[in-house]
Assembly symmetry: C2
Amino acid sequence: MNSEFVIAVHSLVLLAYRPDGMATSEEIAANVCTNPVRVRKVMSCLRKCGFVDTREGAGGGYKLCRRPEEVTLADIYRALAAGSLAPSWCSGNPEMNCVVGSNMGEVMNAVFCGADRQLEMYFEQITIGQMLSRVKAKQEA
Amino acid sequence: MNSEFVIAVHSLVLLAYRPDGMATSEEIAANVCTNPVRVRKVMSCLRKCGFVDTREGAGGGYKLCRRPEEVTLADIYRALAAGSLAPSWCSGNPEMNCVVGSNMGEVMNAVFCGADRQLEMYFEQITIGQMLSRVKAKQEA
DNA sequence: ACGATCTGTAATTGATATGATTACAGTATC
DNA sequence: GATACTGTAATCATATCAATTACAGATCGT
């Protein structure tokens, strides 16, 4: 799995946790434990997909622009990690003179596409709001 | 996804395709399009898990020792790619003085464990025998 | 017994991917 | 116009991945 997915989810949960729903890349980076540039890169993508508003300049930062309950992990997965399941490496070769060797690549690819859909269905059931609830529940325990 | 998973599946399908169910690491490597050492490493693991028999020495090689219909991709996934879904990179820090930052790691981990189970359920439905059928079907098309 | 053939494994190398850092242009606020 | 942000490119260090080389151990055929 793409680690940008983790950063995106963490960031959105943090924004949902904030009373005003806002934070700068520096604040988010400190909370996520990474550097601000990486956060900005991920958040820039989330802005293009309509999950956050960004304001440049002094007093700016990022703001969640959807209700936490209506944003699912599947939305985020699709935005910046879709298809990451299939390995870059591919076996076989279509030019090969063997039923197995020449067709395995295509068949394997179909298997991974199915796995991707399966994963997406799972992520569909988890919202940013739920993630925030789970995090709070840990604290009480 | 681990590319060793791909090699393992491809190799087992090739063995299932062979009339005598046998092949050497060199033959498999040529079909998979990789080198024999990598194949042997993967097959060595499959032997330990009881999917293939190996015979060293002249005339040796690997032999499928289960019926293709009873070996699922989930078996192979568990054998050499389980838990590969969670990214090595981990956000947050348990020592942190913030509900979100300190607990996100654990919550995220639980999410990925669930995703792993989901993936395993999907792979449970696909057997080596089915993979061989799919490959053959491509040829006819 | 001996040479040929095969697996099992460790070690090395080169290529690619990943994450941190630096740098700086653009923009909004005070 | 000084300050405080985002947006993005470029660079560097490190980790991971895959290929290759090397060689010990096992088995077969003769």
